[in-house]
Each structure stands twice: as C-alpha cells, then as structure tokens.
C-alpha cells in the first residue's frame, strides 16, 4: 500500500493502535468529571444554547423547567368548584373560591427557582397574593406557629414556620410569566419560597392548615431536609 503513504503518516505498531479504547475511556472520564463542572458550565451556556435549541425543536423545555409530580394523575383545575380552605388553629375557618382569591391585593415579583435535583430557572415572573392576606381573615390563634400546605395531589404536603412565611418573596402565586399558572406548574395556586428548594414550593394548593409546630412534608418523610435552604441543605454547601 505504498502508493498512499506520503511521509506524514503516523507510525503505528502492527495490528494497530488502541484508539477505540482511548475514545471509550476518554469519553467516560470527561463524562464523570462533568459531575464536578457540569452545572456551572451549563449555567454559563444555557442562555445561548436553549433559545437556539428551542427554535429548532419547540417541544424542548428551553426555559429549564421540569415538571415533577408524585401521584398518578395531576390535579385538574376547575374554576367553578375550586376552593382554598384555611383551617386548623384559627377562630374563623374559611374557604376562598377563585374569584375571591383574585380579588385579594395582587403582588408581583421576579425570583429564581432552584430544584434540589440541580436545575435552576432564572428570573421567573410570579404574580399572586401574600400569605398574610389569605390567613389573617381566618384569625389565627396565638398558638399557631406553622403552616401546613396541602396539595390537591395527594398525599403531597409541606410545612413552613410562620416566621419563614414572612421572608421576602414568599407568596402564593396564581400567575407565572404573565399567564395563569398552567396545570403542570400547579394550577391554580402554588406556594413560592425562592430561598428554599422547589419541593417546599407546594403546587396545586387546596388547603392551608395552621398548626402548632411544623412537621415533615412529603419529601422530608423520604429523607429530605425540612429547612430546604438553597445551597445549604440536602447535602449541598456553597
């Protein structure tokens, strides 16, 4: 085969060089090392890559959202029958329908949503109501120190202490990015607490129960941290 050697050919031992295993091992090594740098790298480039990918393939979740649920079917919102119940340690248990909810003072905020599995959505525009505006009319008793947020997706629930609900940017959201909350995002109402991981941000709210102390919610019963501070819980430290 001398007719196609031109002097610049690499010298290989007879039988060839183990390039296949080098490609295999190299790919495995790069992939495993990405467990260290993957998220930081993706956070840097996703702003450019995602819009391009979304233009090519509009079904891609270019905003970065994943839809997680724990039951067989997602709750379906019916504005005529939906109610938010506020009960527990209150003097006047109450039920809010969707019209009354929307009549409460409206607040808006832009905050970042962090999932404990590692994905993040920057600058989400939420609109909704402050928790105080929903529970004050029920006249919480003095012994009430925590809130249990119950999802229509049974048996999902989670707790915040009363103190945690007064942190900045904690709200009950009925709009996301200018549109009514979609089914996957917890229509018609979800809890938003940006300083904690997404599993505390209960979707499909149907009940707020005032209780004496906070307890373990759905994921906490499966070993997650009760206080899910972003970057300082669930094995993460920054």
């Amino acid at each position: 085969m001398s007719e196609h050697t031109d002097g610049r050919e690499p010298r290989l031992r007879p039988g060839g060089a183990p390039v296949g295993r080098a490609a295999f091992l190299g790919t495995v090594a790069v992939g495993l090392s990405s467990l260290v740098w993957g998220k930081a790298a993706w956070d840097r480039v996703s702003g450019v890559v995602s819009p391009v990918a979304g233009t090519l393939l509009p079904v891609l979740p270019t905003s970065g959202w994943r839809i997680y649920s724990i039951a067989d079917t997602m709750p379906r919102f019916d504005p005529t029958t939906w109610r938010l119940r506020v009960d527990g340690l209150v003097a006047e248990p109450l039920e809010l329908d969707y019209r009354k909810l929307r009549a409460l003072p409206r607040v808006e905020q832009v905050s970042t949503f962090h999932c404990v599995t590692g994905w993040t959505v920057q600058n989400v525009h939420w609109a909704g109501v402050r928790i105080a505006d929903v529970i004050e009319p029920a006249e919480p008793r003095s012994g009430a120190r925590a809130l249990r947020f119950v999802s229509a997706e049974h048996p999902y629930d989670d707790y915040l202490t009363l103190e945690q609900t007064t942190l900045p940017d904690v709200m009950l959201a009925y709009e996301m990015d200018g549109k009514p909350l979609s089914r996957g995002h917890g229509a018609p109402l979800r809890l938003i607490i940006p300083d904690m991981y997404g599993y505390k941000n209960v979707k499909w709210l149907e009940r707020i129960e005032l209780v004496r102390v906070d307890g373990s919610g759905y994921w906490e019963n499966l070993g997650y941290d009760r206080d899910a501070w972003v970057g300082h819980s669930n094995g993460y430290s920054t």
């Binding site: 183990p18 490609a23 790919t27 992939g31 993706w42 590692g118 996957g184």
Partner: protein
Amino acid sequence: MTGYVRRFSRTERTFHWVNAVFFLILLATGLVLYLPSLEVAVGRRPLVKDIHFWSGVGWVVALLVVALAGNTRGLMRTARDIDRFDRDDLRWLARRRPAPQGRFNAGQKVNAALTAAFTVLFVASGLLLWFGERDTRLRFASTVVLHDGLAFAALALFVGHLYLAVIHPATRHALRGMTVGTVSEEWATRHHPKWEPD
C-alpha cells in the same frame, strides 16, 4: 450471481438488538420524564420513573447475559477489532483516500466506542439520580446535567446511525448484516477490502 459472507454472528446480532430495544424504551420513557408537554399529557410519573429505572437495570443485565451465554470469545474478538485503528483508519477519519477498511470502518469503530462509553455514563448517572433521591450523600448538582446531556448526545449518534443503516444508499446494505447476518461479497469487497471473512 454474487455470494454472501457472514458479517455478524447470532450473539453479535442479539447483543445489538437487545441494546436497540432497551435504548428505545429508555428514550421513550426518558422523554416523558423530561419534556413538560409529555409529562403533563401522560402523568403517572412514579410509574414512568419505575419503568425507566428498571429498564436501565434490565438493559445492563440483558447485555451481560447475551455476552456471557452467547459466543463470548467471538464478541471479544470483535471488541478487539473495534479497539484497533491502523494507519488507514486514521486516513479514513481524516477523509483522505484511498483508505481501505477492514471488517469495520473507522466511523463504525468510533460509533461503537462512543456508544459503549455513553452506556457506562448513562448507568452511572442514572444510579446517582435514583440513589441520590434516597441519600443526599449521593446527590450532585450536575448529575441531571450529565444524564440529560448524554441523552442528547446519544440521540444525535442514534439519528446518524439510523440514517447510515436505513437511508444512505452506499451503506444501507449493511443493515442486512445486522438482520440476517450476511452481506454480499461484492459489497464487502468494495467497502471493506481489508476484511477477510472466516
């Protein structure tokens, strides 16, 4: 009237199609877990998650069973073929011609090496996702980035593979080698001149 030569043994073909079937099951269930539109439409996330995870386990087990119960020695010899790149393979990758190829061309060798690496990485990151949900010591913020990124890389490789195996006129005859096991002698001589079939 051209004759046929054997390119893939029964073990090799079984190995390939077991891999293909599990890949498609994992791709389908993975897309349901990943794409918001499908996730809302299908629901039943816990069930889909279980199917996805156990299919991943079944994938590895099935490949091991085929490799160990079938013609292991033949499979190892094929792996050696895929590992070794001679001078013509490097010319082939650099798009220089002529670059006469053996039983596998250099592109097929790269495809096989990457597919094997992706399998290892899919399994590793999948196990971390599954057990990380149960034990925070196994949770890394980048696991989901790796698993999703792999899915895109593997999908791109799969689409290219499908195109060459089913559509591209010069190469699609190779599909016959992976279904009935044999390819025409004339095609083999043209595309894989340095291959000496048994």
